[in-house]
């Protein structure tokens, strides 16, 4: 298993559109993915679980990937979160 912490910086947090994008990326990964956030552990392949976690801008989360293509998947997911899904970023 590999994991990395990353801060959600896009202004709207993981609202419907960014959460949709993130869950699409996670769904394409050939490994198990979990996100540890203040509300607990969730499966980010589900947009509903992602949104239900109500992750706001400024929150630090941990992404865990295990099995299959875990290393590349982790990079891809973390970079997407860092990229802010095309939104303005907070500092």
């Amino acid at each position: 298993m590999v994991s990395q912490k990353v801060k959600v910086r896009n202004v709207s947090g993981l609202h419907l559109r960014p959460a949709s994008e993130l869950s699409n990326i996670c769904s394409q990964c050939n490994c198990d993915v979990s996100i540890i956030c203040p509300k607990g552990r969730i499966n980010p392949k589900s947009v509903l679980m992602l949104m239900g976690a109500a992750i706001k801008a400024g929150t630090e989360i941990e992404v865990q990937c295990s099995g299959g293509d875990e290393k590349n998947s982790l990079d891809k997911i973390v970079n997407a979160i860092k990229g802010g899904f095309g939104e303005k970023l907070i500092n």
Partner: protein, 567 residues
């Protein structure tokens, strides 16, 4: 024949035709249960097929509205599928029941979240769930699928997602039980020039699918199943009104000058580029209110300077006349999917409009740069919404100067004399109008909010809806005060609320000295015609009398008498 009266109307026109009744469907969900493993597999396959079909229909809608892209992700969601699967295999439910139960559970989860935005997403989940169940039952989710002949649409309420699929050519009129004159249906009907009556409580009880309806939107009258003669008379009236409208339209290109030579401007309120087309084709004198919210609400992030600049430039070039651009007026009941508003107990009194822009100067400056750059290509004015203090005005003007300097430094052309004015819509701005007039180049009275704030009555709340009227002496005297203070300082005063389109109030507003009337483009020809038939000096005397009246009943009676119709 049954009759229903609606007291508040903001629409006009007569419609007669069959009823198309929009029922809120409460689908019956079968209780049949799968009995063995292979039947369970068939149920899950049924769910999967419904998901694919729903995704397909959503994909075609997603091109026009970004919200549906999110709905696709929800329909495809694996956690939702797991919950459905668990209900089929674990509890022995059929696919419809399993989906219905799983959707309800998820939407409950959202309803329990602290974040207002997230709580509202429960509606998205429910919407998708309805589609999935409808799909499994082979029902069409389009509420207007049965609409084949031109009809009067009657509904409890209509949402943007309902009307997206509506063929507007088949709509003779709208009647809804709920909603106010500023609701989605009212605004859409206004832009299409279709008569609409909203807040028609009880209408659903007195019509059925075969009914024929006659409606007169201006008078607020609805007749169900009229007899032959009555319907014929109404048709004649409709013809007459149409001829009148035609006459107004033919004269629309003439200047608006009263019989005694007093000139005023009649502008259009616009909310997108289609409205600009309409304003131009109906010969509005210009645009008195360009709502820029659509740029922000139809985007999935803050629109860039370039995107905004292109829209503003295109708009002012197409229009050919003067255009007043209102800076972002978001917050209150208007939210953005990509901006997290803090939960507010009272959003109408919260972080909105200019307050939000001053809180986020980078967002504000992006828009100002776009407007200033576009001002090189046509006559633009900048209008600031929701002002309550001179500090806000000065701070905004400071930011505008700063943006101007930045543009000059890199030699980008703009109109250095671009007028900057403000909406007057709060009692604070009314009381201090004289102070604001010294720093502003024009005023525009926003009667919708001014009425709501002055009377402390929510325009969408049925319980106090009767209190919401711009005809109260307090509101009329506010209007007078703003016009007088503006004129004292030598600046023009306009009005861009619904009130400006009210034919019965036109003489009063003219008499108070209003310089610019701004309204839905479809109303401009009729108001122009009405103003041309008036005498300014006489209107002044009339207005003077009306604003001194102490009771709204007297004011209504006076307007009724002068207009010769029902107020």
């Amino acid at each position: 024949m049954k009759k229903l009266l609606v007291s508040d109307t903001s629409s006009h026109g007569i419609a007669i035709g069959p009823v198309y009744l929009v029922r809120e469907e409460k689908p019956l969900i079968s209780g049949a249960a799968p009995e063995n493993r292979s039947e369970m597999e068939a149920e899950l396959a049924k769910y999967d097929a419904a998901v694919e079909k729903t995704v397909k229909s959503l994909t075609s809608m997603a091109a026009g509205n970004k919200i549906f892209a999110g709905h696709i992700s929800i329909a495809r969601d694996i956690a939702l599928r797991d919950a459905v699967k668990q209900r089929i295999y674990g509890q022995g439910l059929n696919a419809e029941r399993a989906a219905d139960g799983a959707v309800k559970e998820v939407s409950r989860m959202f309803l329990n979240l602290d974040d207002t935005y997230m709580r509202e997403r429960a509606a998205d989940v429910t919407d998708v769930g309805k589609r999935l169940v409808a799909c499994m039952q082979n029902r069409t989710e389009n509420k207007f699928a049965g609409l084949k002949v031109p009809s009067v649409i009657v509904a409890e309420s209509l949402l943007p997602s309902d009307t997206a699929a509506l063929d507007k050519n088949l709509v003779l009129g709208f009647i809804t039980e709920q909603g106010g004159v500023t609701s989605h249906v009212s605004i859409m009907a206004g832009n299409l020039g279709i008569p609409a009556l909203v807040g028609a409580a009880g209408i659903m009880d007195i019509v059925s699918d075969g009914s024929v309806i006659v409606m007169d939107a201006a008078a607020g009258e609805i007749y169900v199943d009229p007899d032959r003669k009555f319907a014929d008379d109404f048709l004649k009236r409709k013809k007459r009104v149409e001829l009148e409208q035609q006459k107004y339209a033919d004269e629309a290109c003439l200047p608006t000058v009263t019989r005694d030579g007093h000139g005023v401007k009649v502008y259009a309120n616009v909310g997108n580029l289609n409205d600009i087309e309409q304003a131009a084709s109906l010969h509005a004198d210009g645009v008195g209110l360009f709502r820029t919210e659509f740029l922000y609400m139809e985007s999935s992030r803050f629109p860039t300077e370039e995107e905004q600049f292109n829209v503003y430039r295109k708009a002012v070039e197409r229009l050919g006349g003067e255009m007043v651009i209102r800076t972002l007026d978001i917050g209150g009941d208007k939210k953005l999917s990509y901006y997290q508003f803090m939960p507010e107990a009272n959003p109408v009194l919260g972080l909105r409009a200019i307050r939000l822009c001053l809180r986020h100067p980078e967002v504000f400056k992006t828009q100002l740069r776009a407007i200033l750059r576009a001002s090189h290509y046509g006559r633009l004015r900048i209008m600031l919404p929701m002002m309550v203090s001179l500090e806000e005005a000065e701070q905004s003007l400071g930011i505008i100067s700063e943006v101007k300097r930045e543009l000059s430094a890199v030699n980008i052309p703009y109109d250095s004399n671009i007028p900057v004015g403000m909406m007057v819509e709060t009692p604070a701005a009314v009381i201090c109008a004289g102070d604001f007039a010294k720093v502003m180049d024009f005023f525009s009275i926003g009667t919708n909010d001014m009425t709501q704030y002055t009377l402390a009555a929510d325009r969408c709340n049925k319980e106090v809806g009767g209190l919401y009227s711009p005809l109260y002496p307090s509101v009329l005297r506010s209007v007078k005060r703003v016009i007088d203070e503006g004129h004292k300082a030598g600046i023009k005063v306009g009005m861009c609320g619904e009130f400006a389109a009210d034919k019965r109030a036109a003489k009063l507003l003219l008499g108070l000295g209003l310089d610019e009337f701004s309204m839905s483009a479809s109303c401009t020809p009729a108001i122009k015609s009405a103003l041309r038939g008036m005498d300014f000096e006489e209107a002044r005397g009339f207005a003077c009398k009306v604003v001194s009246m102490e009771h709204i009943s007297d004011i209504k009676a006076a307007l009724e008498k002068s207009y010769g119709g029902e107020v």
